[in-house]
Each structure stands twice: as C-alpha cells, then as structure tokens.
Amino acid sequence: MSKKDRMSGNQAIALAIRQIDPDVIAAFPITPSTEIPQYVSAFKADGLISTEFITVESEHSAMSACIGASAAGVRAMTATSSAGMALMYEMLYVASSDRLPIVMAAVNRALTGPININADHSDSMGANNSGWIQIYSEDAQEAYDNMLMAHRIAEHEKVMLPVMICQDGFITSHGIENIEVEEDSLVKNFVGEYHPKKHLLNPKEIIGVGPYSISAYYYEMKMGQFHAMENARKVILDVSADFEKTFGRKYGFFEEYRMEDAEFAVLVMSSSAGTGKDAVDALREKGVKAGLVKLRVYRPFPAAELAEAFKGVKALAIMDKCDGLSGNGGPLGAEVRAALYGKTDGIKTINYVFGLGGRDIHVKDFFGIYDDLEALVKGESRPDCKHIGVREKR
C-alpha cells in the first residue's frame, strides 16, 4: 500500500535513493541539489543504506568516480546542478560513450554567467547532446516516480545509457508537497537488481573500458549510441507501463492536458506546466479551446509523437526555460519546429523564452500567450520568437 507523505523534491529523490540503495554515490554539493547527497550521507550514517558514499573534490571527479564504479559493475548515482553539471561535461560524454547506466538526479538551475542559483533549464539543455537520456519532472511526485524508473531504463540491455532525472530547482526541489510514497519492498522489487554482463571486476573475463577510438572506429561507436538512444524509446514506454501497472500512476513521453479538441496549445516542461494547466482550466471556462502538453522525455526526443499530438491544433506556443542564444530561438523551439516540419505544416508557432534565472511565470502570462495564439490564427502577426517576463523599454 502506498501512503501519503509530505516532502520536497530533493527529499523525494533522496527517499527513492534510500529505497533503491545504490552501490555507489559520488557527489559534490551545489545548490539546489546539495540536499540530496546530504540526505544520503545521513541515511548512510544511520545505517539505512549500504551505499558507498564517495565525497569528491569536484563534479568532474564525481562523474569520473561514477564512471569507474559503473565500469566496475555496480549501480552508480550522482546529483548536481548548474555549474556542477557544466564541470562534469567532459565526463558526461565518457559515461554515455562507455555505455554506462549511471543515474543522475539533476536539479535544474541557471548556468552561471551571471551567477544565479535559481531555476531554468540552461544547465541540462547544455548537455542535451551528451548521449544521456533526459527525463523532466513537473513536481516532487514525478521526480520520485521518474527516479524509480531510471535504473530500469538505463540498465536495459538494449539501452545501456546514462539517465538524468530533472526537476526545477527550488520550485520543485525545495517546495513541500504531498506525494504518494511506495513501500520499500515494492520499490526494490520494481527496480530489481543490476547484474551487468561485462564489468571490470570479473576475474573470468578481463576487459578494458574507454579505449582510444581512431577515425576508423569513432563513427561506428557513435552509431552504437545512436541505436541505443533509439531503443530507449520503447524501453521508456515499457517501463512506464509496468510502473503504471505496479503503482497506478501513468507516464508517457509527454502528458496531454485537455488536448482532445484543443485549437490553441502550449508545450512546456517541468514545474511551469502546473501554472499553464491553471490557465487552461480558466480559459476552458470561457470557452477557449486551450490545451497543454508537458514534455517529460526530452532525450530521446519524441518528434513523431509530438507532431501527432499537435495535428489538430491551429497554433502552438513552444516554451523554453532557456535561451540558447543561438539566434534561432530556444532549444525546444528549434527541435519542435523541426519535428512539425513536413508533418503538420498548417500549425502556426511562436517560440517563447521565459523564466530565465528563476524569473516566475504566472497564470496571466499564459493568458497572454493564448491571446497571442488566437491573434496569430486571426491573421495578426507575431514574432517567431518572443521573450516574456523580462523588463524592457517599449
């Protein structure tokens, strides 16, 4: 029987870690993910977990230690945010090319420059081509649930890729919510044990990990990663379906909210989706056919499924909590437009950048977005990409 308990997103992740009891955690404190290793070290001190907790001198070392542990054949985890993830950058690519199913609790925080500790997605978006599976959570419940699914996705023999489970810093990581918590034994049963086929500590089969790959091999190695990422699509859906069967909560690549007959849709990720859903409800009261899609799985990118979901809409707002400063909108905007191209060409789109460095987004901001979409459909012009919630001279 699951029970209700109140906790923050960080506590929910820590609880999942206690229940999973991974073999190794290597982490370095960085706001707002600091609490996760802090709770883990308390569990360790209290004898609640058998995890080897490695305190390291940097995030580069944290990821390196995870790589060593995972190559040795055990379950390895870490937690980080912002500049910490940036310092891991080199090793993120090593983890994925070595095909090591490491799991990271990522607590999204604006990437430094200027320094800021609040939520946006510039940290994990910067790592969105690192070969990691990326799953985003709206609230503490989803952070907990996604973490319970992470190892089974990562360790699936057709995948063997690292996974990061993302949640918004402070908004989710430090906000207290009531969540459904599953029994330890049921979680252990669901997650299962990890028995890698190949690992460094197997005396019967000596292996080398992470060899230099000259141009005659590098491309073929990348092709292996490409196919693993492709395979992850089905595995994510299968594990999510088993999760629903076991614990009753349903997950897919994304959540569709009041999309059945929607004409005006918003695509958004993580905690801001909750605010958007309130706006949708209010607009529906007024007879506006508003809907919302919350993207959960960003890597692998569900391009075909998103195009299908938006088939019936007239206008779509794609919302990036990150300005890639690419000159071509935010990362999500560029990818969704590419996904729609040639499949659903009638849809008008606006790419919004919002919420940078923890700037709040309100229900009324979403009203403005749906207004823009309606105006666009009526033939008025709107920019391809728009920054909202920023002070500017008119």
């Binding site: 089969e205 000596i206 080398g208 992470g210 005659a216 091999y217 073929e220 190695m221």
Partner: protein, 107 residues
C-alpha cells in the same frame, strides 16, 4: 589490425554492429596487434658486443619494447619502440646509441 585476436575479429572494415558495446576491449595484451613504432623519430641501436646483459634497460622501457628471452635481452621490438631514448640513458656500458628514425632494424 585485421587479425584474429582476443578482441574477436574487430577491424577497420567491421560494421558498427560488430564493435563491442562501449568499445569494451576483451582480453588483455592487445597492444601487440597495433604497430605504433612508426611514430618514432629516433631509433635506438643495440651493440651486442658492448652489451653485458645487465638487464637494466628492459624494465625502464615505457613501451615494453626490449624483449627478454631466457634472461637475455634481444634486439628491440621496432613495431612498438617510440624512440624515447630512456634505455640509452640507462645503459651503463654504452651499448645503446640513438640514430635517426630510419636507422636501426626496421619493423
């Protein structure tokens, strides 16, 4: 390196499906299949007349390129010697001299 070895039979014509997952290398001692000696810019020359078989040179070679057979050093493994000259520095009897890349026994 299209040779049958402990890694299976991975070579430069192998399709991606035949490359091990994560590029894992199975079985030790694969260096022997990779001739890296052609990187060498200077080549050591061994004078067996001057050599007293003291065996100070072979353990210092970073590339294990001085084979020893029945307690006697043999000529260099020029398939792997990088020409670093450490062995020539170590030899107390002047039995190793450094020449140009092309000199010495050829791989």
């Amino acid at each position: 390196m299209a040779k049958e070895n402990s890694m299976g039979n991975i070579h430069e014509k192998s399709p991606w499906q035949d490359i091990t997952e994560g590029g894992f290398v199975y079985g030790p001692g694969n260096s022997v299949y990779f001739n890296t000696g052609d990187w060498r810019v200077r080549t050591p020359k061994w004078d067996p007349e001057k050599c007293r078989q003291c065996l100070l040179c072979f353990p210092v070679c970073p590339d294990s390129s001085i084979p020893v057979l029945e307690s006697k050093r043999q000529d260099f493994d020029f398939g792997h010697c990088k020409g670093c000259a450490i062995c020539a520095q170590v030899c107390p009897f002047g039995a190793i001299t450094m020449g140009d890349a092309g000199e010495g026994a050829d791989e």
